[in-house]
């Protein structure tokens, strides 16, 4: 991957982006057990696959989601969080 498409700024060199890990659901802090909270804090889905990830276009500060194949390093689509049906 050399070019990544920011949903706001369009195709930009990948060096302009920061990766921030897979999109994960946070358990309710007040009611989660200690073990569930530790699992949320530390555990990751480290296996290969197609994942939804947080990325940031750092010059503009745009945070968005990229759907990416972690074996072929191919981005299938990018979109702003909450607008999944949108951008290609």
């Amino acid at each position: 991957m050399k070019i990544l498409t920011c949903p706001v700024n369009g195709p930009r060199p990948v060096s302009e982006f920061a990766y921030a890990g897979e999109l994960r659901e946070m358990p309710e802090p007040a009611s989660a057990s200690d073990a569930d909270w530790a699992a949320y804090v530390f555990n990751r889905n480290g296996a290969a696959g197609i994942k939804r990830e947080w990325w940031c276009h750092t010059p503009s500060g745009v945070w968005f989601i990229a759907v990416r194949d972690t074996v072929g390093d191919v981005v299938l689509k990018t979109y702003l969080y909450g607008h999944e049906a949108g951008a290609e």
Binding site: Y19, A38, A39, F42, R44, N45, G46, T70
Partner: protein, 399 residues
């Protein structure tokens, strides 16, 4: 060098997944020290073809945590006898290891590491800029004018070795003692059974047949999360590529190993005269070993900050390995919640130097079903208890 075994047997006492240095060292010590010889080592690719053959071969014990320092110090002790042990020349070469400090903050970390190291009897000291200059006179002490070297952590036992030979030595030693090494054999599934007090390993299904076993040791670096999925375990391990490169061979001029965390450079000169160089992890998750031009450009620029005289030297090769990273930069070693499933993982960017001590401690752990005292700080369940072993300050480069 090895006996090519025919078919897989239907059962073994122990199945080791991964014929890299760690897996083969464990097989070797299981056979030699514990008398367990009915062992199969299963390897998807070829012997030593993973991170064992992809690292930059640096061996040192100047870590930060008491757990780490004692563990790696035992490894350095084992390294020194290995060539004799194997009757195979590992080109083990003690060079001395300088970790450069370019800021007051990193001088403070070096002092901290030196004091922990000395407490455990490891030869390690903070030296000033003058001492660094005397040891490496051809290095630009200002790093191109933008990152003056204030001093360094000096570790006299720092060494390099020929990495392929380590896997071959352990493999041959295990092979001669009756261990079977099955290359081109992929693990497809791991069967477990419920004992009432949790799951227990029952069998390993491979691309060449099913094997009954009660003990599985998993030593597969970048494939660890996939194998953990097979037994239903989750872990903090995530995979980023780590790249490296070598120059064309040039006459011997660089004796010590040089590391700069601030500049993201580590370099040593091999017995063949090549400069072996690395930087830091790739910036995002990837399950592939592709190389990038970005890496070469950035690393070459930082190398030239330190050694401008190398401007005309050519880069010969570059490559990558898949590093199994952990949040605290310490490995994950020992027993797991699945009975009979033992893990040697979380070796990220620091696993090669630990090859002998991993073999020693993991063979002990597998043979006795009880974690070796040296690996207590690296337990699988430490994250669940928020009891991390923070080793990040001793990682060779900033990540």
């Amino acid at each position: 060098m090895f006996t090519p075994p025919d078919a897989l047997k239907s059962a073994y006492d122990v199945v080791i997944i991964g014929a890299g240095g760690h897996g083969l060292a464990s097989a070797y010590y299981l056979a030699r020290d514990h008398g367990i010889r009915n062992v199969a080592v299963i390897e998807k690719g070829y012997i030593g073809g993973g991170n064992t053959g992809r690292n930059t071969t640096i061996i040192r014990s100047n870590y930060l945590t008491p757990e780490g320092v004692q563990f790696y110090d035992e490894s350095v002790r084992l390294w020194r006898d290995l060539s004799q042990d194997f009757d195979l020349n590992l080109f083990y070469s003690t060079r001395g290891h300088f970790t450069l400090a370019h800021t007051d903050a990193s001088m403070r970390t070096m002092r901290w590491r030196a004091e922990v190291n000395k407490h455990f009897g490891v030869d390690s000291e903070v030296v000033d800029a003058q001492a660094v200059h005397q040891a490496i006179p051809h290095m630009d002490m200002t790093a191109g004018g933008h990152a003056p070297v204030l001093g360094a952590l000096y570790h006299a036992p720092g060494a390099i070795a020929r990495h392929d030979a380590v896997a071959w030595g352990y493999g041959r030693g295990a092979d001669r003692r009756g261990v079977e090494i099955h290359q081109n054999t992929e693990v497809l599934a791991i069967e477990t059974e419920d004992t009432g007090s949790g799951p227990r390993v029952k069998a390993v299904v491979t691309s060449r047949g099913r094997i009954e076993t009660r003990k599985v040791l998993c030593a597969v670096a970048g494939s660890t999360p996939r194998l953990l999925n097979m037994v239903g375990l989750r872990s903090p391990i995530y995979i980023h590529p780590l790249q490296a490169m070598v120059s064309e061979p040039i006459k011997p001029w660089l004796d010590p190993i040089i590391v700069s965390g601030s500049l993201h450079v580590y370099v040593s000169q091999s017995a063949r005269g090549e400069l072996v160089m690395g930087a830091s992890l790739d910036p995002y998750e990837l399950h592939a070993t592709r190389s990038t031009l970005d890496f070469v450009e950035h690393l070459a620029a930082r190398m030239l900050d330190l050694f401008p005289s190398l401007a005309d030297v050519k880069i010969n090769r570059q490559w990558a390995g898949m590093a199994d990273m952990t949040p605290d930069f310490a490995p994950v070693l020992g027993k797991t919640p699945v009975q009979g499933f033992y893990l040697d993982a979380g070796w990220g960017t620091w696993g090669f130097k630990a090859t002998p001590v991993c073999g020693k401690t993991m063979s002990h752990t597998v043979a006795r079903d009880e974690a070796h005292p040296l690996i207590e700080g690296f337990r699988f369940d430490r994250f669940e208890h928020y009891a991390l072993t923070g080793e990040k300050g001793a990682a060779s480069v900033g990540h």
